[in-house]
Each structure stands twice: as structure tokens, then as C-alpha cells.
Assembly symmetry: C2
Homo-oligomer: 524 residues x 2
């Protein structure tokens, strides 16, 4: 075979495989500006791969594009590529756990404003970081307010509530130590992710512990209101135009203004809706209505509950959907798949729920977490089969989907996207770095993708741009247009009505065009 014939057959084989990719059709019809922007982005990427990611670094032994996020974050922030991505219109944020979406430092500042919030620990705060237990927070009614005390003093009686502000001011180890203790208990640091807790099992222990801490602050109505606002505000600033937040309804009430545990789920949803409306009104007044289309809630229960308990939550979800049809977007089960009940355990109540919502004329799609695991053929990996058979609208993570050619074909054909959370997967040790992540497998199999940040407050990926960055630098075939297609898909595969999707897509198009033009002015 002569070389020309060889080259022709090679080109054709590569094209045949690429035809499955969702960006292929889009790439075939690029505008001149899009072509130019893509080229500029690729040039910046190639340059920075050398100037930033291939140099010797004093503190980091081995640099490479897409490396461990917590080690690389500062370097990422310095790159031109990241600065460009910050401005990209990102469509919808479809996978984020509400109680881990606001910067822990911001949450802490909000909490400090509220005299009702108290802190306690099992014993005096130790000077030695390794011996510290995490703090516990709770808003108390005025009648039960504690008195100022030094939580680090040997006189401190474990379990005694101290008003948060006073506890911080009086801490004899200093406010800095106090702040590190509080913030560190709600975040995963690089030493934990990459050394002391460097396995899926171990890092999940730390991960779950952060929620126990932050819940004491978030489940207090005045903080909750500010938290919703801050979550949406920071998302909008990051180019996110629409949100479907997973809220964990595990606790049946939160603490109200009066310090009593009496704010029910309907009020949670109502406040969420009110804050969303307020922020949209503010944007409108500023002529920025193109920036945000709204926010909805995916109702989530935790997968350690019994079948009986699940029935309660499903009924609760139905009641909320009936009351707030435009806010409740779907239903999901969350938690560590590796150790908690698989979907098949709940199949019966879930199947009944489908029947019942059908009878009631309610549209509450399942949007299941599934396959967030390294398991191969175990019950966790098999959650993917159940998610699909139970009719999930999207799949949360689906990390393990790369192992399933038939399921990927089904996702491609039926339009079931994966909500892929690259940095989350890396920090939770499903992959050690982005170049090892299965995302290219999903792309090459034509599975629709919505990139998401999962638990940004815990992982430190506080803007989705970090995830976009990690994806962009870890591939040669994927580029700016690939990201654009995922952003479009995050709208396409949202729970919005078709007409709403069209409207939002048009807004996205306008912002995308402006973004592309801005890139075209750059000198790479």
C-alpha cells in the first residue's frame, strides 16, 4: 500500500471514530470567529503547557497539565487560559450539593454575624492539630445562650456551648488557630487528599465529616437565606446561568429565627425560591437579566435510610412538588455509594413512586447518582444498570460508566447525560489526576456531558472554571468547542421545559458569541 492510500485510510478511520463525539457536528459548522478563538485557545494551551506545566518548581516535585488540583490551584490561577475560562458562559450547573457550595470562609463570616450561633467541642481545643476534634455548631434560642469562654483552656468542659463570636475572640491559641480549626474542618486539604487519606475509603471519612460541621451553620434560617443568596451570586459571577441544586432533606426541620428547630421543608423550598426571585429581580434592575435564568432543587435523601423511611421522603418530595412545581426538579439518593445501599435495594419503593407520580400527573424525574466508584462489577458499579432501568434523566458522576460499552450506547441514544465532576473525582481519589480521568472515554463514546463542581466548598473548586480548566488542559482532541458543547448540553439536559430551554439556549448563544469575539482580540 502506498503512503497516500495509507494516509487516506488512516484519516477515514479517525473520522469514523470521531463521528460519535458530540462536538464533531458542531465543529463542522464553526463560524470564522469560533475557528479563530479555538486556534487562539489551543496556542495558549500549548504555550502554557511548556512555560507553566513543564518547568522545575521549587516546592512541587512534578508539574504537569491537569495535575492534582489542590497542589496546582495557585498555578492554575496564574494562567491566561484560566482567566479566559472565567468569562465563559457556562450554561447550567446541574450537579452541586447545596450544603457545600459556598466558600467556607464566607460561611464562617456569615455565621459570626449571628449571636445565636454557638460552638462546642468534646474537650479543650488542642494546640497540636492532629489531636483536634472538629467543632460542632448550633443556633440556640436566647434563653439557652451560653457564656463567653476560652475553648482552648484546660478549664473548658467538653460539650459546653460557647457563643461563636466570643469563642473566637477568647481563644487563647489565637483567632488564627481558631479559624484554621473551623475552616479546616469543612475543607479537604492537600495533605489529606494526597497523603494521609489517599484512598477512596479514607478520603470519604474526612469528606463526610465536613458536612457534619457545616450543617450546624447552614441549617439555621437566617444563615440559610444568606447562604442561598451567596451560592447563586457566586455562581452567576462564574458564568453559571442556571442551577439545579441538590438539597439534602435528611433533617426534617432547620432552626428558625427564634432558635427553635421548627422550619419545615416547605419553608426551605419557599426561601430558596424567594432568594432566587430576589436575585433575578436585582439582576433585572441592573440590566443583567441575561446572566441568570433561575434555580431549582433536586430533592435528595441519603442512601443509608430504610425502604420505609424512603417512602416518607418520596411522599415529602411529592408534597413539595405539588406546592412548588417550578422549584422541585427531580429526586435523587446521595451518600457514599461504596458503603451504603445500592439502588436495587430501593427498587420497589422507587418503582411505586414512578407509578404514583404518573397517576398524580407530576413530573419528578429521577436524577440518580450512580457509578461514583472504582468498583468493577460490584453492586456500586451496577448502580448504573439500575439508574438507567429506573429511567434516570441524568446520571450523577457515572464515573464507572467507562467500563460499560452497552450503557454508554444507551446514554448516547436516549440522551442520558453524565454530570461529570472532574475535581471532585480527583480529590475523592477516583482518579489521581485529570489525564487519568475517564472523561475522554465518555466524549469519544458520544455520551452527553454536563461538567459540574459537586461540593466546591469542600474541594476548593469554588468556581466551575477550575473544572473547565482541568478538562481543557488534559486533552489534545478536546478544545474550547468541546467545552461549549458541554455548556449547551447542560441546558439541553436540564429539567427546564422545552420552550425554556430554547430561550436559555438563545441567551447562551448571545453570550457565547460575545465571549468568542473577546477571545479573538487576544494575542496568544
Amino acid at each position: 500500500m502506498a503512503f497516500d492510500a495509507y494516509w487516506a485510510s488512516r484519516t477515514s478511520l479517525i473520522e469514523e471514530e470521531r463521528s460519535l463525539r458530540r462536538d464533531t457536528a458542531y465543529i463542522a459548522n464553526l463560524t470564522e470567529s469560533e475557528k479563530k478563538a479555538e486556534e487562539i485557545i489551543r496556542k495558549i494551551r500549548a504555550t502554557e503547557a511548556k512555560t507553566i506545566w513543564s518547568v522545575e518548581h521549587e516546592e512541587i516535585p512534578a508539574l504537569f497539565p491537569g495535575m492534582e488540583f489542590l497542589t496546582a490551584r495557585k498555578l492554575i490561577e496564574e494562567t491566561q487560559l484560566f482567566k479566559v475560562l472565567r468569562k465563559m458562559p457556562k450554561g447550567g450547573l446541574l450537579h452541586a450539593h447545596f450544603d457545600a457550595t459556598v466558600d467556607t470562609e464566607v460561611l464562617f463570616c456569615i455565621a459570626l454575624k449571628h449571636p445565636a450561633i454557638h460552638v462546642r467541642a468534646p474537650g479543650p481545643l488542642a494546640a497540636d492539630t492532629a489531636s483536634r476534634s472538629p467543632p460542632e455548631f448550633r443556633a440556640l434560642p436566647v434563653s439557652q445562650f451560653g457564656i463567653a469562654a476560652d475553648i482552648a483552656s484546660s478549664d473548658y468542659v467538653g460539650g459546653t456551648w460557647i457563643p461563636l463570636r466570643e469563642a473566637r475572640d477568647r481563644c487563647s491559641l489565637g483567632t488564627e488557630v481558631f479559624d484554621d480549626w473551623v475552616i479546616g474542618s469543612m475543607r479537604i486539604n492537600p495533605t489529606e487528599a494526597y497523603k494521609t487519606h489517599n484512598s477512596v475509603t479514607k478520603i470519604w471519612q474526612k469528606f463526610l465529616s465536613t458536612f457534619v460541621v457545616s450543617k450546624g451553620l447552614i441549617l439555621f434560617k437566617p444563615v440559610y437565606e444568606e447562604y442561598v443568596y451567596e451560592f447563586l451570586r457566586s455562581s452567576i459571577e462564574d458564568g453559571i446561568m442556571y442551577v439545579e441544586a441538590r438539597i439534602n432533606f435528611r433533617f426534617k426541620t432547620m432552626i428558625g429565627d427564634d432558635g427553635e428547630d421548627n422550619v419545615d421543608h416547605a419553608q426551605w423550598v419557599e426561601i430558596f425560591g424567594q432568594v432566587t426571585d430576589r436575585i433575578m429581580q436585582e439582576l433585572k434592575e441592573q440590566g443583567r437579566e441575561d446572566e441568570f435564568y433561575g434555580a431549582r432543587i433536586i430533592y435528595t435523601a441519603v442512601r443509608f435510610i430504610s425502604k420505609k423511611e424512603l417512602e416518607w421522603y418520596l411522599e415529602d418530595c411529592i408534597a413539595l412538588k405539588q406546592k412548588f412545581p417550578h422549584i422541585i426538579a427531580g429526586f435523587d439518593l446521595v451518600g457514599d455509594e461504596n458503603v451504603q445501599h445500592p439502588l436495587i435495594y430501593y427498587a420497589e419503593p422507587l418503582l411505586r413512586f414512578k407509578e404514583r407520580t404518573k397517576e398524580l400527573g407530576l413530573d419528578i424525574p429521577f436524577i440518580f447518582h450512580a457509578g461514583e466508584t472504582l468498583g468493577d462489577g460490584d453492586h456500586v458499579d451496577q448502580n448504573l444498570f439500575d439508574a438507567i432501568l429506573l429511567g434516570t434523566k441524568r446520571i450523577g458522576h457515572g464515573f464507572s460508566m467507562a467500563k460499560h460499552p452497552l450503557l454508554m450506547k444507551i446514554c448516547r441514544e436516549r440522551g442520558i447525560p453524565l454530570e461529570v465532576c472532574p475535581i471532585s473525582n480527583e480529590i475523592l481519589r477516583l482518579t489521581s489526576s485529570m489525564p487519568m480521568h475517564p472523561l475522554p472515554i465518555f466524549f469519544n463514546n458520544g455520551v452527553p456531558i454536563a461538567l459540574s463542581s459537586d461540593d466546591p466548598a469542600v474541594f476548593g473548586n469554588l468556581i466551575l472554571s477550575y473544572d473547565y480548566y482541568q478538562v481543557l488542559v488534559s486533552s489534545e482532541v478536546s478544545g474550547l468547542i468541546t467545552l461549549a458543547v458541554t455548556a449547551r448540553d447542560s441546558i439541553q439536559f436540564s429539567t427546564l421545559e422545552d420552550s425554556e430551554k430554547q430561550e436559555l439556549l438563545q441567551i447562551w448563544e448571545r453570550r457565547w458569541k460575545a465571549f468568542v469575539e473577546e477571545i479573538c482580540t487576544l494575542t496568544p
Copy 2:
């Protein structure tokens, strides 16, 4: 949908996907003993997952099955599962680089016996390990023998050859330091793999440096002869029944008994054949002829050579094949794919070679390395397209194949196996641990697999049982039978003649049956 109907559709979907797997047909026809053995192995695996891989360890922060090999090796050796796997008949070893197949300590001992072997360094051996350059070795003719000296003394003049034995004896830092220096320069240690060189680029620098050191010992005819013997002997001990070793013919000669650089490639191959015959004769005399079927050579050149130079090597390969038709098994290009020439660079001479061997009536299949990379859509990843289009008989590594649904389909349909080297991939940082390895993807796509050890002397996976172990403990769906199928495939996809394959398969069956019966006597 009632639960029963749901369960039926679930079972059927899982079965449909599993139908692609190569172990599925085998599993459908198991003997009672095989069923029992599989069950016993699964029980041992499940038990040890808890008793060994889920406990707190004093020195290792996070244990899990399939974790980093260099950290886990000692624990692996203690397991019952590993002890069982040591005895498994493993079929053919299809991917091993000859010059990294013998334990470096054994190689060092062999070298110490030969007074001709000298050592030198760029300067005195430093007390501080970080400042040490690797040693250089060379066999010298008697007329050039060096004199005994202390290589660690400040008087040592860099570049001066010292007889190896004397250099070791006189080393003022002690023989232990000297030995660590020599051995450490031919091996990757855990600190290098998991800390200081924790990226593909960095670890390859260390990896390649080990070959520069060991070549000075191996490319000396008397050592080479012993090395071939030791390689085959230790392989046989590990249950390997047949070998296709990749020998790097980069250097056109090796040093002969007389210390002169004059032993040509024909002699390399001749000696390899003689030692193979000798070892087979010895086994026969011991009534152990079932244990070994023979060894062949895959001719390899390095992928940094020019097209012109490649033509010389291709001609050389043809000449050797004509002279030793039963020893030369195929042709390959080796080296770091990420930084050296892609296959497409050599397409023209390779296409001509195919024509020429056809004309000459020679069967010299390509058995290309391809896709040993984390690259996505770059020229390295694309080597997979070229390997297949150039008609490769097998693919060395094919790590990146997981990204290519169409190519996996071609491999499945045309019977192109991947020579998968799990521990090599992990130590060379393509994957951080076995549960992240794409092997389950290959299995689920029905791609034939031959498990291999690649460069065991450098990685410390000196027996293939380590690789078998890491595969077995990192999956729930794969089991003993899956390993059996890969062992069979390593025979099926060897370069042996069909009749030879049948004969070897029959021998394997006999040994497999005995192995299964032995497992059946175990109490898990």
C-alpha cells in the same frame, strides 16, 4: 413495572453487556472443580480484602486492594491469594523487555564473578545519596584492566575504570552503600515512583536511566549467556510456559569473551537459542518438559532513530529471520512514545518492509507498542490507529485504547490482543493504582488480553504472579477464570504455528486441571 419484571430486565441487560467478555463463554461451561475453585478464590479474596487490605497499618496511611505495588509488595507476598497464584500455569509471557527481566541483585552477582567487568563514575561516590551519579559498567580486555581503588575517595579521578569486584571491596563508604548505589541505579524505588518523580515525564527519566546502567553488564557475552538462562529459569519457576522476549538491537555489537566489542546480532540470537535449547534439555532430563515450550525474540529498534536508520534495522531483522526462522518472532519499535517519533513517522519504511517480507515469503509480524500514554487525541494516542492500520499482530500496552470504542471493536473482531502490563503502567504513572487501570474496560469490550510484566527488574514485579494478583484483587466481576482466559489467550495470540499452539494449549489444560484440583483442597 412489578419488581419481578424489573429484575428480569435487569438480569437481561447485565447479561447482554457481559456477552462481549471473553470469559463469558468459558464461564458457561465450567467443570464442577472449576466452579469450586472459583468460589474458593473469591472467598479468599473477600476475606483478605478485610483482614489485610482494610486494616490500619503503622507505616502505610491508606491500604486498599490493588494499591501502589511498591508500597504493597510485602503485604501482597503474605497473602494466601498470592501464594496460590504463584502456582498457576500462566501460558506465554508476551511482553517483556529482555534487558530488564533478571533481578538486578542477581545480575549484579553474575557481574561480580567476571574480572573483566569494570565500573566508573563521573567523580567520587558521594556519601549523600541525592548527589550520586549512576555508575557506568563495561567489560574491558585484559590489556586495559584497571587497578583497584576506592571510588568513594576524594582521590578518585572521575572516569577512571576500576575492576568491579575491587571497587566494591575497597569502597570506603562500605559494600552496603556500594551495593545500594549499583542496585538503586537499576531499579525504581517507591519514593521515586510516588513522590519525587510522580509524573509520566519524570518517572520515564529515571526509568530510561536504569537501562543505561544495566546495559554495561548485560552486553558482555559471558554475562549475557547467564542472563538468558536466569531469565528463562525464573520465568519457568513462575509458571510461564513460553516466552516472546523483546530484545533491543540498538547497539550493533556486544563485548565478547576477549573484552572486544565484536559479538554481532547473529551471535546474540544464536546464544539465545542455544540457552533456550539447553534449558529445555535440562527440563526434559528432569521429566519437566510440560513446564516450558520455548522462547522467541521480538526484534526491537528504538523510536528515536531516523527513517534511514530504521531501514538498516529492518534489513538486519530480515537477515536474522532468514538465519533463525524459529527464533525471530516479530518486529517492534520501543522507547518513550510520549517524546519520540510516532509510528506514522516511520510509515513508509514500515509499509515497504511489509511488501518486502511478503516477496521473500517471510513471516515477521509487527507487534507494536502503541498507546502507552495518558494523551488524548495527540500523536501518541494516535499510534493506536497506525498500529492497527499497519497490521500489528498484537499491541504492546494499548493503555490508551480505552478511549477508542471503534478500535476496541476492531481488536475484538480481528483478534488483536493487548499486552497489558498492570504494574508497569502503575509505576510509570499512567495509573495511580490498579483499581484506576483501564483493564476492566478492555475486558468488558471483549478485547483479548495477555498479562505481562514488561520490565520486572526495574519495577520489582519479578514474577508475573504480582501482576496477576493486582488484577485479581481489583475487580469483583473478574475472577480466577478471567485469569485463565488471559493465560489461554497468551498462547492463542502468540506467534507460534497453529499446531504448536494446539500442543501448548493441551499442555496448559493439563497443568490448569491439576492447579484447579489443588485449589479445591484449600479451606478458604
